[in-house]
């Protein structure tokens, strides 16, 4: 077999194992629940009978491996089970709670990625090219500061200036599914801006570092000494070797984006999956927490997997074995 294919398959296999182990960890959350958990959910007034019925309903009477297979089987078909907020005769499926919110979060993350990735790569590239210039130092100082700020600090500052003092945008981003696209976009502006600021800072610094370490390599010096033009040096000599670090930077930050969304959604009361998860954690609605966690984890793992595959596929040593 071609070594490239073999390495990619190995990596995919490892990814599958990781997914399996992570799903086990998330599933076993319910195993570690303290004994009086049902009472805490149902309230102090619950009778022993209702507690027992509840435990039966969430399947605590069956052996764990059977429950795992049921759960993961359901998940693969898009069914994450019932929320603990279900009552007898009134089932609320987890899917119905999180599906619309997942779409909202994807919308938020998607718009942010569209703005942030080109911006960060561009800025990072410029900072690397003009390193130690005033521009580089300024960008460096600003991004170092931005990274040190908690997300909610950035969010509230933006809200104060862009929604309260100068009411350009809405301070609350209560979007709904039937809203026209542009209104949705306008209402999402502040969360997108906050996330962009935070992500761009991280991504730009990482891009800059990756490019600089590349530009210091002897073959780039050789290209300069061969009289290759600066543009060609970047395009022909640096870029073909830069896909791996750039893919890793993007994947890392996209993953961060999905998670960073949690705080930002809460600040702007944006109806996304992050806020759903926070609410579920507070009310200890474990099935919803599990579903959200699984979605976040799978996204994270898949993005990293993709970045790794790109790194492998652009490595000349693997592409053209001896």
């Amino acid at each position: 077999m071609h070594p490239l294919l073999r390495t990619v398959l190995q990596r995919l296999g490892l990814g599958l194992i990781t997914l399996f182990v992570v799903s086990l960890i998330i599933f076993s959350a319910i195993e570690f629940l303290p004994g009086d958990f049902a009472r805490a959910i149902l309230g102090q007034s619950a009778t022993p009978e209702t507690v027992e019925a509840f435990q039966k309903e969430i399947g605590l009477d069956k052996p764990p491996h059977e429950r795992y297979l049921n759960w993961i089987g359901g998940v693969l078909q898009g069914d994450f089970g019932s929320s603990f907020s279900s009552r007898v005769g009134f089932r609320r499926s987890v899917m119905e709670i999180i599906a619309p919110r997942l779409l909202n979060t994807l919308f938020l993350a998607g718009i942010t990625a569209l703005v942030a990735i080109p911006l960060a790569l561009g800025l990072g590239l410029l900072a690397a090219l003009y390193r130690n210039s005033i521009f580089d130092r300024a960008v460096n100082a600003v991004t170092l500061t931005t990274i040190s700020f908690p997300e909610f600090f950035v969010a509230y500052i933006l809200m104060l200036f862009l929604a309260v003092k100068f009411p350009i945008f809405h301070s609350l981003s209560n979007v709904s599914a039937d809203m026209p696209f542009f209104e949705k976009l306008q209402r999402t502006a502040l969360p997108v801006l906050t996330l962009t600021l935070v992500i761009v800072a991280h991504m730009m610094r990482m891009t800059r570092a990756a490019i600089i370490s590349l530009l210091a390599s002897p073959y780039i010096e050789m290209a300069r000494l061969k009289g290759v033009s600066p543009g060609q040096i970047i395009l022909r000599h640096a870029l073909p070797n830069a896909w791996a670090p750039i893919a890793n930077v993007i994947a890392f930050n996209l993953a961060y984006l999905v998670v960073g969304a949690v705080v930002v959604e809460v600040v702007f009361v944006y109806p996304g999956i992050g806020q759903a998860m926070v609410d579920a954690v507070r009310s200890r609605d474990i099935p919803v927490v599990q579903a959200c966690a699984l979605i976040f984890a799978v996204t994270y793992i898949l993005l990293n997997l993709l970045a790794d595959v790109i790194s492998i596929a652009t490595n000349p040593r693997l592409l053209h074995p001896r």
């Binding site: 182990v21 959350a29 170092l144 908690p150 600090f153 509230y156 104060l160 301070s171 998670v259």
Partner: protein, 297 residues
């Protein structure tokens, strides 16, 4: 061998330079940003230690009938949603938030650092086992993992410290392991092994001093990260629970004021930001300093 200087047998070999002298020599050359950072950190530590004596009121004392009272001479930063003094809670917040973040970071380093160095020295199956376990833990985003665990065990200070520390120790483990690996392959470690040195000597005299600068810098960065994570959790209402004063929850509880053009809730948020900026400045200088040690004469 016998060609020694005249006074050799009785000569007293001069003593070493003291640690304090060395530290002072280094500090004198620190740049302004590092001094700014160190002063800010010192100030925070002072406030954290002496909050009960500096604060004008009690931590959870309700001092005003008016919630969200405006800034005044009696209440410098006004009052919060329950009529507690904001300034007092800001001071106590330093104590609680800093203390918890510090405890968490220390625990994370004890676990991650210790296991990382052990993995690098023993290699083999111990390393494989630990590394694979850490890989898996890191496959789940940290905040999400923290949320799962908090939903199971509930939010208490002990749970918070243990959960964040364990999750954060994975990153410490990776760094400690990779840095220690680079040291362990050095000839001087081989030389110590060939001399017949025991594990303890190799660990504490050969490896540890060489990974210390990196680990100290990492401690600063990890502390910032832990501090931000705990603040974020508190902000989400899942971290430090009321009535304990804490900057993250203070922001959350008073957030509505922003929409009335009142910057009070930004002050605890700014307090968090200022500290992380300060730590970053010091770490930056420290990294520069230790990487340039070779040139120092």
């Amino acid at each position: 061998m016998e060609q020694t200087a005249p006074s050799a047998p009785q000569r007293v070999v001069k003593a070493r330079r003291t640690v304090a002298q060395n530290i002072w020599r280094t500090l004198k050359k620190a740049p302004y940003s590092a001094w700014f950072g160190m002063i800010v950190i010192a100030l925070y530590i002072f406030v954290a230690l002496f909050a009960p004596w500096i604060a004008p009121y009690g931590e959870a004392e309700i001092v005003s009938q008016v919630p969200f009272d405006v800034w005044s001479w009696t209440h410098w930063l006004g009052t919060d949603q329950l009529g507690r003094d904001m300034f007092t809670r800001l001071l106590y917040g330093a104590r609680n938030t800093l203390g918890i973040a510090l405890a968490t970071t220390l625990l994370a380093f004890a676990i991650g650092g210790g296991l990382g160095i052990i993995a690098s020295i023993f290699r083999g199956w111990i390393d494989q086992l630990l590394s694979r376990a850490v890989d898996t833990l890191m496959a789940i985003p940290q905040l999400i993992f923290a949320l799962i665990l908090l939903s199971i065990f509930g939010s208490s200070v002990q749970n918070l410290i243990i959960i964040i520390a364990v999750l954060d120790s994975t990153r410490v483990f990776r760094l400690a392991r990779s840095v220690a690996m680079n040291v362990v392959v050095m000839d001087y470690v081989e030389a110590a092994k060939l001399r017949g040195e025991k594990l303890g000597w190799i660990l504490f005299k050969e490896v540890l001093p060489n990974i210390m600068p990196t680990m100290i810098a990492e401690f600063g960065l990890r502390f910032c990260f832990v501090f931000l994570t705990i603040s974020a959790l508190s902000f989400l209402g899942l971290g430090i629970q009321p009535p304990t004063a804490d900057w993250g929850s203070m922001v959350r509880e008073n957030a509505t004021l922003i929409t009335y053009n009142d910057i009070t809730p930004l002050i605890p948020a700014g307090a968090i930001a200022l500290l992380t900026v300060a730590v970053n400045f010091v770490v930056d200088w420290f990294l520069h300093k230790t990487s340039g040690l070779r040139d120092e004469k």
